[in-house]
Amino acid sequence: MSSARLLRYVVRRLAQAIPVILGVVVLNFLLLQLAPGDAATVLAGEAGGAPAEYVDALRQRFGLDKPVPVQLALYVKNILALDLGYSFRNQSPVLPLILARLSATLLLMGTTLVLSLGIGVLLGLLAAVWVRTWKDHLISVAAIIAYAMPLFWIGLMLILLFAIKLDWLPTSGMEDAAAFYEGGERVLDIARHLILPAITLSLFYMALYARLMRATMLEQRGLDYVTTARAKGLTERQITLRHVLRNALMPVLTVAGVQVGSLLGGSVVVESVFAWPGLGQLAFQSLFARDLNLLLGIFFISSCLVVLINIVVDVAYVLLDPRVRVG
């Protein structure tokens, strides 16, 4: 496979993504119009009441007095110019608001993805190797428990155990709020704060990947090419690691790619429990405040993120499996 061809493929996929994202933007805009109440009412409500002239002035400033099609056209025009608009509630342009939160979310998502894929695949592999022994049962039962527990509950229990009872880790936040560390100390501090939320968010996906991995491993082991390999005289270890593992990884990778979107959704809960300053919380708050510019901006950025990650997954296929071609 020539790298030029791969590059062309990526560029084409990116070009195809533009109408998809625009469609998402328009659809989101229209769906949000269905929600009753608007930002002006909520702002006035938070203020504990305000004169009518104040609310009218707000509507006018937010452009909420214009008809919906005009609002939509304006919004799409701005998006095409990569202008995400202004959040009146936050008294700030939308883009810096999102960027300030993006790194925290990416850190949490990235760590979770690595943790859950790494450990999930490993556990699934071991369960398949030890199939129908007590170790396999142990892994399977643990996976089902992790899969079935609600995220917020796991989070709270971990806080109670590791922060309050054992006093090993901080309860919440991304950094020590009183200390304001710099440099290396800051990195260590963030890492300490990352442990509990990353574990909480990982457990569910880890369990999912472990079960999927075990199933596909077992399925692959019964296929003809494994018999052939065995006939060739390869050891079980070579067969498992070089042949079965690579093939079994494909479905897991596919699911992981699709799951990135829901990882963003799951992170709302975890971010909320651990006060992690990420995008999920911002989306949640802006929905309840009817801060549509901000909410649409978050949707826009996350749909870009999902599209990008799926392109990365498709490229990973090619690298994992020489039979898959781009074109």
Binding site: P36, A44, A50, T171, M174, A177, A178
Partner: protein, 531 residues
Amino acid sequence: MPIPRWTALAVTGLLALAIAGTPAAAQKSGGTLVQITQPEPPNLAPYISTSAPIGQVTAKVYDGLLEYGFDLKPKPSLAESWEVAPDGKTVTFHLRKDVKFHDGKPFTSADVAFTIMEVLKKVHPRGISTFRDVAAVETPDDYTAVFKLSNAAPYMLAALSGYESPMLPKHVFSQGDIKSHPNANSPIGTGPFKFVEWRRGELVRLDKNPDYWRKGLPYLDRIVVRFINDEATRTAALEKGEAHVAGFGAVPYSDAKKLAQLPSIEVTTKGYEMISPVVELLINTKKPGLDNQKVRQAIAYAIDRQFVIDNIWFGYGKPATGPISSNFAPSGIYTADVTKYQTPDGIEKANKLLDEAGFPRKDGGVRFEIVHDITPYGPEWQRFGEVVQQQLAKIGIKASLRYEDVATWLKRVYSDYDFFLTSNFLYNLPDPVIGVHRAIHGKLIKQGTVFVNGAQWSDAKADQLMDKATIEPDPNKRAEYYQEVQKIVVDGSPIVWVFELNFPTIVNKRYHDVVTSPLGIYTNFATAWRE
């Protein structure tokens, strides 16, 4: 010659005693206080939004002309003295001469005139009404500000705290559009703490202002305001000592009781005397049935206020008698001498009233059915809704419950008037003109405006009395007018005033003098100190 150790100790001890003046331990400088504010404020512009969490942050940065004691009387702050003319139409403030904004520029009467006339009177949600009668602010010299009023406005002197009417630097905020000003989220005031940074979703950092005009203050080096979305996590952070102060229901009432038992934590209900939240049931008096005064009185009789306080708010409350909180008792404005709905035979009285009103019990003992909307502010409000449902069932009113999100609920109640009975809570704020009129005055039946007269009920005599009280400089006459208003309105029963909510404030015991005013955590913490 080295001084003997014991002498040094004795001298230090004497000095400490001399400085403290009271037998309490001497205040110490230094340390960081972590405050939890819930939810995260949408912005840091208290001059344009009175969203509840904003003031908890910005009151540390902006000073007001006045401060207030627990007797609700004004005390000097940026204004070291003031005079009110006998007719109440001229109020003169003499300003301190040693005050600088955080950017080094001096604070003068020009800043006062700008803040009141160009900002608060025009864009502050409550300032629009508070300063409506201020015709001009004259500045004869840099340190004198003279408010010229078209009518006496006795409530105005209660609304000049750094929380309610923050003094802004004219040289900063007169540049550009005040409604989308770049400094909306990076406040520059004269207060004891300077704004350093706001990490969205995480924290606001405020550092000590070394040039604060009260010499030697503040004691704390830093205040960090943290935002934690989950209530259980907020409790955990306070329990562990990662955070030290939280108020306004940031901690669930059940957890407040639990935290109060820890040796490291103190829970106080002081610091809300100028806020005075009152929990109520708002009745849509235009709905058939509910337009009948007897039906509304029956509902008022049916609600067991003490049960709600004890079982849902874990005791953090006191039965309310009418629209005005008993916090106004010292000024004589409050009276309990009104129709009493909290009586042991309330249910019987209610049933009798409903019979008289012509709503006999039909199949299954039901007289009529309504939908009860629940204020979308959290789980205790849902429990409250369930109690209301049960108690209404006792008098034959079948209520089904509806819980929506804030925007939907506001629109339903205040824009569409598409409701029967909803729970709600309103602040009385420092004066009835600011916090009470809005809910019961006929002028304030304004469709589409939130937290005004959603009951759509009014009484000509009560309106007239409120109008007189608004411009009456004599406090005794004002008190009389308001006592009369309470009698009329409570009898009309457009709203069931259920109880005065006493928010618990959680304070870590290593920190002292945190709640020192009737505005509680809406004040500047200049005198708060850490052991």
